[in-house]
Symmetry: C2
Subunit: 301 residues, 2 copies
Amino acid sequence: MSLDELLARERAAVDAALERLLPPADAWPARLNEAVRYAVFAGGKRVRPVLARLAYAAAGGEPSEVAEAVCGLELIHTYSLVHDDLPALDDDVLRRGRPTVHVAFDEATAVLVGDALLTAGLEVLARNPEGDGWAARRARAVALVAAAAGAAGMVGGQMEDLEATGQVVSAAGGDPEERLERIHRHKTGCLLRASVELGAVLAGVGGDEQARFAAFGERLGLAFQVADDILDATATADELGKSPGKDEAAGKLTYVTLYGLDRARAKLAELETEMVALAAELEGGEGPLGLLAHYVCRRRS
Amino acid sequence: MSLDELLARERAAVDAALERLLPPADAWPARLNEAVRYAVFAGGKRVRPVLARLAYAAAGGEPSEVAEAVCGLELIHTYSLVHDDLPALDDDVLRRGRPTVHVAFDEATAVLVGDALLTAGLEVLARNPEGDGWAARRARAVALVAAAAGAAGMVGGQMEDLEATGQVVSAAGGDPEERLERIHRHKTGCLLRASVELGAVLAGVGGDEQARFAAFGERLGLAFQVADDILDATATADELGKSPGKDEAAGKLTYVTLYGLDRARAKLAELETEMVALAAELEGGEGPLGLLAHYVCRRRS
């Protein structure tokens, strides 16, 4: 099976599980459920749940056992996009080629959509897989993902990003390169790392082996952000499905604005090599995690 | 021990646990942690975690065993206040006598404070009490509280409240009395009911006995909202610590604007009687839950 076929199959499984998990658009409260579905079914690549499925498989499990659980990651990722797009934060009007939630609906609804998605994401992890035998893993899964998503993780990264761009007034500062690394590591890195780790945790893996999954996930998270920065600087709006060049216009710290395009590309190639080696260790040869490492570093949108 | 002494002791235990759980105000990301503490340590009455502690005691446990876990409720309650106060939602500038988070800090920070508190609230439930023997109860606790806080609960109630007041444009409608009941039951009722249920779930109670705790909690939640509506219509800003009379000015559906003050007060008295009877069943006589039922119905702020 080619990488494209593998990813298409995994994405389809994630989409089917999301469809099962989310209330119909006309269920009470209808405006909220309609907007939740608008946000979730927007053509996302489902990178995080797919990562968790592949990690679960690498740890010896059958991904269909955790089909629902891994969707918690996608709901949490989607909440973060909806809130980050708000006028008070990044003020984005276009996302994946469509109006953002606060534009298509309104700002109050967008705040509540994010709140509902975050809550649902952690609830999905607390409830799936069902059965008493899974209870301890479910509790570990919620703790792992919540830590990655919260103030010491993703939300903290977004806070420092807003401070670094001067969008909020702050006395915080420090070396720009360290600051960039810290923003990236938290804003997108933590949840991507946790996605890989979640697959291991759901498979009952702990200790050193869990740490190896985390190490792979951490590099993947950084690669994802460097690739994003490069795409923002080089892709067209059509390829990207959102407004490109916003980072430079907003004075954002990114790998490209700080180091230039050539060094950013070299960094990405280095990360790709490291990840492929790590994945080979975890999978005992060329497997889906290695293929995904290539994919993240070479994606065009 | 008098009710006031009991509540003061319980609140002090909750405050001490919150202090242990939250990062220091100067920990990274400092702006966020400072604002989180500003929101959490604002003189709140800690009704939800105190309720959970009293229910845990009524179910035969020693509240100190769940000191950290029940704080998850307070973090989630606080997140909902911070987001509800945002300019795009209720646009409140005063809360408990102090500027709201988006006024004291800024709007972007307030969005992130809410996100961080919601995430932390569910994480606290996923991690506490520690120990393998508690894992199944932790997973149940997260599922219970997330369901009460999410789209089918608190967030859904807030969505319909915004629709009912015309703050967001919506085709939704229906009988105003049914609508008011539905808004109340969800917006504040669900989390209060879940607070009582959480005490039972953490004590290992399920089935019919859990349902009796839930029935008490449901009435308490309704009483809390009716009392809130009465206070908004009758208290002074000084007593209330926030702007009074806002409900009527905003054209909100409340027990007072819909039924008038006398019928609202009669409803509250009826709920108090029912709750005291239920509490006596659960506690085998006059106990803390019965005292709390009196307290909620008679509070002045």
